[in-house]
């Protein structure tokens, strides 16, 4: 292979990206060396098994991915603003809409939510870590290296260009030769390992490690949403694993699953992909529902209205999410009966979702609403999401879908649900739990400014797309006609407003780090659930003593009785897991294996896989049992944290 085949050449934008990657990496290396931070980085972060730190790393990576996916989006919107724009050529445009979709779903939305779960769920149920801290670190590193593998594709080897759904036969070896599509397959496969492990980890954590007395139906609602999401992950992700593996075998080893030769079935890919893909969209929306429920209950200063109905509707949504996948390709021609069945099951999902909407409204009804930034994100979600949901039901009608299919109407719909659902929730949750993570709040004034920019930009960007879709503009087109121009210009303006909102948000992180008042209590918002009972910053063992739970909103009851999580008389040594460098090393080798496989350098890939097996053997023989935190140390830590 020639060097100019290895690196992507001929695109000024990509040369620019290469230069900036080199400069940023050099700057990071310089800063770490200059301030002698290597040891600190290794000891405190890269080898950590602490769920709070892993959560923070997830969120930071997700923000970086949001930036990358966002830049992709702005480039697309620029290209689409006017007819005959020569900003991106068709090939480059194909690559960018592919990476935009994949990055946003797999490497932004999911890790962002999993990051919040990591930080919050153990704290909400009174646990000292997740059930398998080592596995948790492995999950994170597999995600990070998977994301890295996918993202280097645009400078090395070339980006995938068959859409985030990668339909065959387009994505097959015959029509998409070269490493691009392999980056998609292996990047997703690598990060998928971690997602599955996270699902198992949180299921066990929530089943086995709740505080004494906490019944399932007393768990905070975000924990419930995590639990239900974990179920979906465990039952949906193996389908993706298989689908990706089959296409990999097709492309690299010449099998015939999805090919046009050898009696392969290209449309089987669409089925397998969406049998995972539809549950996947609920993987990124249910935790978002959980976050909104927490935030709304806290700032409405009321117990969540209809808690049980909320839980059951999530369970119902999770079940239904496995039964609707065909609605993504009604036009495939499965026949009227099949389409009708999936049409009905699709519309059924609106029922439990509607129940949830009314419960949020019920919580807000006659309450004293505090308009904090976190609450505003949550309040903006309700009407925006309803628009996205109602247009979803329109798309769910199979007959009508023949008109909407593949148009900007659909693009508008799924951005409405994914942004006002998932992205608003990520911002809401991040603002809400920020003080717990970093010891200070985000500035409210700047926060609201970024909120208004982003939310107004969002509606300006996507609302016109419904109409331009009805006017016949197809998705995935890189050129528009004059008739669609006005709405597209508006849409592009909206996209840049959103970009500005994101930039302000990031500025707020810096500003608040410099100027925000440091938290002195752990209870930043007068919260209702256990995570607020811990001091801030949270000691690495979370709870000096785990309270006994008797009701929903455990911390409300604790506060009324004057209880804390530091019951000096009942202190006992706490058992904690040790840090370990194994997960990052194992996943780094896995990354190498995947990278070699992308270029189909089979022997190098096998050599690296042997390295992975060696790491597993080392793990099997590792009997490190962690360590105990002694009572004296707990006392010292808690006293200084609580100012006693």
């Amino acid at each position: 292979m020639q060097l100019d085949e290895f690196f992507v050449t001929g695109e000024p934008l990509i040369y620019g990206a290469m230069v900036s990657i080199v400069l940023v990496s050099a700057a990071i290396l310089f800063i770490l060396t200059y301030y002698k931070k290597w040891k600190w980085l290794w000891r405190e972060w890269l080898t950590t098994v602490d769920h709070k730190k892993i959560g923070i790393m997830y969120i930071l990576s997700a923000l970086a991915m949001l930036f990358r996916g966002g830049v992709d989006a702005l480039m697309m919107r620029t290209q689409l603003a006017f007819p005959d724009m020569n900003f991106l050529n068709s090939q480059h445009y194909n690559e960018i809409f592919t990476t935009h979709g994949t990055v946003m779903i797999i490497f932004m939305a999911m890790p962002f939510l999993i990051g919040l779960m990591n930080v919050v769920v153990p704290l909400q149920i009174g646990a000292r870590d997740v059930a398998f801290p080592y596995l948790n670190a492995m999950s994170f590193w597999s995600f990070l290296f998977g994301a890295l593998l996918f993202n280097i594709s645009f400078v090395i080897g070339g980006s995938p260009d068959a859409g985030w759904t990668s339909y065959t036969p387009l994505a097959g070896a015959a029509m998409s030769p070269g490493p691009g599509q392999n980056f998609y397959l292996l990047g997703l496969q690598l990060s998928g390992i971690g997602t599955l492990a996270t699902g198992i980890n949180f299921m066990v954590t929530i089943i086995k490690m709740r505080a004494p007395g906490m019944k399932m139906f007393q768990m905070p609602i975000f924990t419930w949403s995590t639990f239900v999401t974990s179920f979906i992950i465990v039952f949906a992700f193996p389908i993706l694993t298989v689908a990706l593996a089959l296409m990999t075998i097709d492309r690299i080893f010449g099998a015939q699953f999805f090919t046009l030769t050898g009696e392969g079935l290209p449309m089987m890919w669409a089925n397998l992909f969406w049998m995972w893909g539809h549950p996947e969209v609920y993987i990124v929306i249910l935790p978002a529902f959980g976050i909104f429920s927490e935030v709304i209950a806290t700032f409405a200063r009321k117990q969540l209205f209809g808690y049980k109905a909320m839980v059951w509707s999530m369970i119902l949504i999770a079940g239904l999410s496995f039964l609707v996948w065909v609605h993504h390709f009604f036009t495939m021609g499965a026949g009227a009966f099949v389409n009708s069945v999936f049409s009905v099951s699709t519309m059924l999902i609106a029922v439990p979702t509607g129940v949830k909407i009314f419960n949020w409204l019920g919580t807000l009804y006659k309450s004293k609403i505090q308009a904090t930034t976190a609450m505003m994100w949550s309040l903006a979600f309700i009407p925006s999401f309803v628009i996205g949901g109602v247009t979803g039901v329109m798309l769910g009608m199979a007959a009508a879908d023949y008109q909407f299919h593949n148009s900007y109407f659909l693009v508008a719909h799924f951005h409405y649900v994914l942004i006002s659902g998932t992205v608003f929730a990520c911002f809401s949750g991040l603002v809400y739990w920020y003080p717990k993570m970093f010891g200070h709040k985000l500035n409210e004034k700047i926060g609201k400014l970024s909120f208004w920019f982003f939310v107004i930009g969002f509606h300006v960007c996507f609302f016109p797309q419904y109409f331009v879709g009805l006017d016949g503009m197809p998705r995935r087109t890189f050129a528009i006609v004059l008739e669609w121009m006005p709405l597209n210009i508006i849409s592009t303006c909206g996209a840049f407003l959103m970009g500005a909102g994101f930039a302000i948000f990031i500025y707020n992180v810096y500003y608040s780090f410099r100027y925000s008042k440091r938290e002195t209590t752990g209870d930043s918002w007068d919260g209702r659930t256990l995570e607020w009972a811990t001091p801030t910053p949270v000691p690495f063992y979370n709870f000096a003593t785990v309270p006994h739970i008797r009701s929903n909103d455990a911390y409300v009851e604790m506060k009324s009785k004057g209880e804390t999580t530091f019951d000096e008389k009942n202190l006992e040594p706490i058992h904690m897991p040790s840090n370990t460098g194994q997960p990052i090393i194992m996943m780094a080798i896995m990354f190498m294996a995947s990278f070699f496989l992308v270029f189909e350098w089979i022997w190098l890939a096998i050599a690296s896989l042997i390295g992975v097996i060696i790491m597993m053997v080392i793990r099997s023989f590792d009997y490190d049992d962690g360590f105990h935190v002694e009572v004296d140390e707990i006392k010292r830590t808690e006293r200084s944290a609580r100012g006693l």
């Binding site: 389908i239 298989v242 089987m268």
Partner: protein
């Protein structure tokens, strides 16, 4: 994380970590069921799509497959005895029966590899047609699981020799026994829905 340890009951369940690990593994097996179900579904959809390659009925041999089935089913039984011995605290019994299990597993693998080579020789390769792609992927994934299980069990036997039976080692043995029985269940489905149906259709 509590480090309290129960004083009675099976050793693998005495610590909280042991209980969590076993529950986690059950959930993992749930995911494995989905994984194999997807492969079975793929196989079912692609059944009969052999293009120019031989049909399964021409190649499947009842004899080989029956031997493989008996080897694997017996290995599941001996694996059960191994755990039974472990519950009685017998290191020697556990090791002996587990080694027998592994030998049976190796026998199964040997036949499977022979079978694959034989098919490939007859023109039924992974690349030959959609049907054979799905066949080799389904049976191959199962075979790969058996291989991993054998390697894993060998590691555990070394740990048994080093440390004897503790709450940790017995948990590991219990989990690998779950894994081994699971592979057996999968094989029963492969035997019936791949080989038996493939021979008559």
């Amino acid at each position: 994380m509590s480090s309290h340890e129960l004083q009675s009951g099976p050793m693998e369940y005495r610590t909280e970590h042991g209980q969590s690990s076993i529950l986690g593994f059950w959930i993992f097996l749930g995911a494995e069921i989905v994984l194999f179900s997807t492969l079975f579904a793929t196989y079912a959809v692609l059944f009969g799509r052999t293009a120019d390659s031989p049909a399964p009925a021409e190649l499947f041999e009842l004899e080989t497959v029956l031997i493989m089935t008996f080897l694997l089913l017996t290995s599941s039984f001996t694996c059960g005895i191994a755990v039974h011995e472990m519950r009685h605290g017998s290191v020697k019994g556990l090791a002996t029966w587990l080694i027998i299990t592994l030998i049976l597993g190796l026998g199964f693998l040997g036949f499977e590899i022979y079978e694959f080579f034989h098919y490939a020789h007859e023109g039924a390769t992974l690349q030959a047609s959609a049907f054979w792609s799905s066949f080799f992927t389904l049976a191959g994934t199962h075979g790969l699981h058996v291989t991993v299980g054998i390697g894993w069990a060998i590691l555990l036997l070394i740990q048994l020799a080093q440390r004897g039976l503790t709450t940790v080692t017995s948990r590991k043995f219990f989990i690998i026994s779950l894994y081994w029985h699971f592979l057996d269940v999968v094989w029963i489905f492969i035997f019936t829905s791949v080989y038996l149906i493939g021979m008559v259709v």
